[in-house]
Structure formats: structure tokens, C-alpha cells
Symmetry: C2
Subunit: 331 residues, 2 copies
């Protein structure tokens, strides 16, 4: 979709958190992050080389990535002259902001003038097909969660990295804007029109070598009243061979839904597996990935041990322990 290496644009963000998308790109694809561009007053710093647009162009950078989030997801006026300069210097621009690059006349005009491309990763750029449910070659692993934001993307990225390290054939398949910015392509599933959701995921995970794994980023949760339809389309569109259950044990209510408690891991397993087997009768729940960031080490390890004993499959915090055992659970 868009090309590395990147110049990570941090703008004038007030703190490090506002640069979390850029941080994600640097954490997961350091080789793609040629440098950062920080405006005066920028309070974030990835600790990589500072570059001007001209320096980036000279260094072979292909794309300036707007790696920040701000209230309302707006493209600040103060950024525009730098973004235009980047287009003039021969860079494309990619952005995950809610407000679109394509809605800024000055950027549209400059992109046209200099023959560059504006990539708004929050909105679909192609017309996806309707899903046909046909069996595809290759293997697919999908992360499903008891809730939103429990570590599904982290789990998928960590597994993909570990598999590549082991010489296995794998591809991270991004389904949300941060994942797309990291990978350089993917499907912004939450912005796809209802009828084409499952089809977009079939398109994202096509036929492949028999020993190739697509590691598909999950979205939402089958138990989340706002987004369960999105998750359902992933379960049927991805045609998974393996499900990884993702959970955050200290969360008391569903994200954004104060009236709802989280399901148990067993409920998630017993709901997701029969649905997945509708499209792939061989699907298995292979492991549990637990986000234990709010537990101390002793408590975290005790929790993981308990889950393993209860459920009879590996339970791992990939941040704390690495993704090795999750990857091993695939075979």
C-alpha cells in the first residue's frame, strides 16, 4: 500500500503518548523507521535520528508517516507547510488520523502537482468483494478477545516476529489503522461497509503456500455490544485454522460499556470455536495470550499457570515471556 523507509512525523505533540502510533511503527519495524521529524515544541522523542524532509529524501525515504494522535484526529494547520514540502521532495504521505489528508485542498493540490500519493489508512482504498466462503490454501491464525484493547494486535505482531525469527513463513495481516501503519498495508475493517466486511478479510488473507501462516489482527470482541459484528466478520472471513484467546484479567467492565462485565476465557472459547468451525471445521483454540501489565510478576505467573491448568492449553503473556510458546502451539 505504501512504501518504506519512513520518515516518522511527530509534529508538535504535547507528550509521548500522542506519538504512540509512531512508537508502534518504530517498535515493530525499526528497519523501516529511517528517522523522525519533530517540530519546535514537540514533546515526544523516539530516540532515533532527527531528519528534515530534505535529509529524509536524500536518505531514500519513500513515505512520511503522520504517527500521532490528537483530540479529534485533526490535521493541524501548522503541519501543512511541512507536509507540502514532503510531497515536493518526492515523499508520499500516510496518515491514520480521523480527518483525512484527502480533505485538505492544499495537500491534494500539492500531491497532484508533484505526482505523489496521499494514503489515508482509516478508510478503505479499494472496493472489496462479497465473501464467498471458499476454502483457501495456507494457514491462518486469528486473535480473538474477551474485550476490545486487550492485546490482540500485540499478540499477532509478536507471533509474526517470532515466526520470522524461526524461519517460518508468516505474514502479519493488519485490520486496524495502527497495524496498517506498521505493516504498510491492510484492511481498515471498522470503516468497511457491512456487506463487504467478511469479503475484505478473505481478500486480505488469500491462497498461500501450505506452510504459510497469516497472523490476522483481531478487532473488537464477540461479546462487545458495539463491535461484535466486526469480530464476527473476521471469524468467518479469516477462515482460521487456529484461534488465540486474548484477555486482560484485571479489567472489570467492557471497554466503553460500563454496564457489561467481561466473559470468561471459557465462554470466549465456547462461543468463538463453533462459529469459526462453520467456515473451517479443523479450527482449534491453540493458546491463550494474557495481558498481565497490571499484575506484579508473581501474580501474573500464578494467573497464567491457573489458566493453563484450567484450559489445558498454553497461557502466555507475550510481552513478559515472549511469543515462543504461542508460536509452538500452532504446530
Amino acid at each position: 500500500m505504501f512504501e518504506a523507509p519512513y520518515l516518522l512525523f511527530l509534529g508538535d505533540v504535547p507528550d509521548a503518548l500522542a506519538a504512540k502510533m509512531a512508537r508502534g511503527i518504530y517498535d515493530w519495524r525499526p528497519e523501516a523507521a529511517a528517522g523522525q521529524l519533530r517540530m519546535k515544541n514537540c514533546k515526544a522523542d523516539l530516540g532515533i535520528k532527527d531528519m528534515t524532509v530534505q535529509e529524509a529524501a536524500a536518505a531514500g525515504v519513500k513515505t512520511l508517516v503522520v504517527g500521532v494522535v490528537n483530540r479529534g484526529g485533526i490535521i493541524s494547520e501548522s503541519w501543512l507547510s511541512i507536509l507540502v514540502e514532503a510531497l515536493e521532495a518526492g515523499l508520499d504521505i500516510a496518515s491514520g488520523l480521523h480527518n483525512l489528508l484527502r480533505d485538505e485542498p492544499v495537500l491534494v493540490e500539492a500531491a497532484k502537482k508533484y505526482g505523489r500519493t496521499l494514503h489515508d489508512v482509516r478508510v478503505p482504498s479499494i472496493k472489496y468483494p462479497i465473501a464467498n466462503g471458499k476454502k483457501r490454501t495456507g494457514k491462518r491464525c486469528l486473535a480473538v478477545g474477551t474485550d476490545c484493547s486487550v492485546g490482540k494486535m500485540y499478540t499477532a505482531l509478536a507471533m509474526d516476529r517470532e515466526m520470522k525469527k524461526r524461519g517460518m513463513k508468516s505474514t502479519f495481516r493488519a485490520t486496524g489503522q495502527t497495524g496498517i501503519l506498521i505493516e504498510g498495508n491492510g484492511v481498515p475493517l471498522d470503516a468497511v461497509v457491512a456487506d463487504f466486511m467478511a469479503g475484505s478479510i478473505e481478500w486480505l488473507t488469500p491462497n498461500n503456500d501450505p506452510d504459510h501462516w497469516d497472523i490476522v489482527e483481531g478487532q473488537g470482541s464477540l461479546f462487545h455490544a458495539s463491535y461484535s459484528g466486526v469480530t464476527m466478520a473476521l471469524v468467518h472471513g479469516a477462515q482460521p485454522d487456529a484461534l488465540i484467546l486474548c484477555h486482560e484479567p484485571t479489567r472489570e467492565t467492557m471497554r466503553g460499556l460500563p454496564d457489561y462485565t467481561l466473559p470468561t476465557l471459557e465462554e470466549l472459547r465456547d462461543t468463538a470455536l463453533p462459529l469459526a468451525r462453520r467456515v473451517n471445521p479443523d479450527c482449534k483454540v491453540v493458546a491463550v495470550s494474557v495481558n498481565t501489565q497490571h499484575m506484579d510478576e508473581d501474580k501474573a505467573l500464578a494467573y497464567l499457570k491457573n489458566v493453563e491448568e484450567r484450559m489445558g492449553i498454553p497461557a502466555v503473556d507475550p510481552f513478559r515471556q515472549g511469543a515462543g510458546r504461542l508460536v509452538e502451539a500452532l504446530s
Copy 2:
């Protein structure tokens, strides 16, 4: 959304089937169908009063409804002069065609000139909220199917009509273009952006009197690989108190998916009910609605009796037997 009475525009369709949307409107809301407008060569006839645009305007018609389907869903050039005449005469226009009224410059211009509105019911006309899952007042019944096109809309319309006849408070809630054309409003769910699907259904079925029933039109099937996400959003967005299971017993494979067989009614019940109880713990599966059009009377009645005995709830073909027992199952 748009106002009755209607002039049903049949255009120059080659057969009665092509006028099936108009037929649906006339069957379900005869009081709204003031007349039909048939061009020369039109091979369909609803058996109601033929009217010119001028006669319709004089009779108080508010909206010309394009009640036809054709290959590609296009707006024929030969229709345009009549549609412009309707706008000039003070009628709005509503259409469920794939191609949009708003994409025809001559119609846009005429609507502007005469202060009329073009209603494209296939695309959302408002910005729906994200679902919040909060408990709403009033009651809701949702039709869910073993497959697409098994009679969910018919079941909902027949129940709503029967309830009104009995003096019960009920509203048919349309979620597809034919239903919207019949009711005059609704949500074209298959065209809603993923993140807003469940929210659109919450919006469609708001707080209401404690003894009021929304009879919500179903879409797709939880077992249909192409559209299951849409159905899931309905199950969570509608917050149903009652589910009606819909089925067509002679169908051998899922609509559009030749590799997939239909689930059993028991599988549908055991899948849909736990999902619905996530948002409404009191939800019950109250009845089965069977489309027996491809069975003779003896076979149909034997099938219905068998389902009742197996499942312990009423099993009815509302077309053959009326919707009375489905309505009684709600209480």
C-alpha cells in the same frame, strides 16, 4: 423518512417479477398505494388505479416510489422525463435501486429547482451512533434465519399486521431496502459502515412504552459466511426480548454459498440465544416461522408438527396459516 400516499412507478419492466418491490408495498400497505404509473411496454400490473403524475398530484400523492428491480439496478434514461415531471408536480421520489437518484444530475437539478427530496433508501441518510448497549424500555422481537432469504421480512411484516389488528402496540422496523420502501423508513443495514452497525439498530429501536413491541426485520444469518457480521450486529443492537427462528426446509445449500449446507433449527437456536442474552438476559426463543412454499399442504403440516414436537415451541408458516400463533408466542 418519506411520506405516503405513494404513486408506484413500474416503468417499462418486462415482467411482474421486476415489479416485486411495488408488489410488496401494495401487499403490505395497500392504503399507502394510491395508484400505479406504467409506461408503454410495461408488462407488470398491480391491478390498482393507473395514474399520471398530474392525477397523482391532484389526488394528494406525496411520493413517487420507484418500485422495480432491473439488471444492475440502473435508473433507465427513458424514465427520467417522468421522474422530472413528478418533481415538478410536487412529489418527492424514493428508490431502492442500486444506482442512486442523487447521481443523476438531471434529477438533482430538478429536485433543487422544485424544492423536492430524493430518497435513496439503499444508503444511510444519517450518521448513526456507536452502540452503547444500554437497556432500553419497551419490547423487541427479532427474526433470525438459518439462511438469507428464508422469510424473515415476511414473518416480521405478518406479525406486525396481526398485532395491529389485535390492537397491540407494534412497529415494523425495516432493515433492508424493500422493508424501508414498505414502511417509509428504516436502516439500510447492509450499507452501514462496520463500526456503526449495532448503533444504527439501537437508533432504530429506541425507548418505548413497556407494552410496545418493535418487530425487527432480520438480515443475513449467523451461519452465512458472507453476511454473519451484519446479523450479529442486529442480535446485539436490537437487544431482543424474543427471537423467532426462520427456516426454509427444502433448501439444500446456503444462498450464494454452494459449499455450505444449512444449519438445523436447533443449531440456530443454540447459537443465537446465548449471543442475544449477552445484551438481554431475559431473551427467549419463542417460535419458529417456516417458509413451506416448496412443500405440499400435507408435507408442510407434517413438517411443522414435527418441529413443534422436537423444539417445544410453536412452528408456523405465516403465509399458509397466518401469524396469530407467532404473535401469541410473544406473551
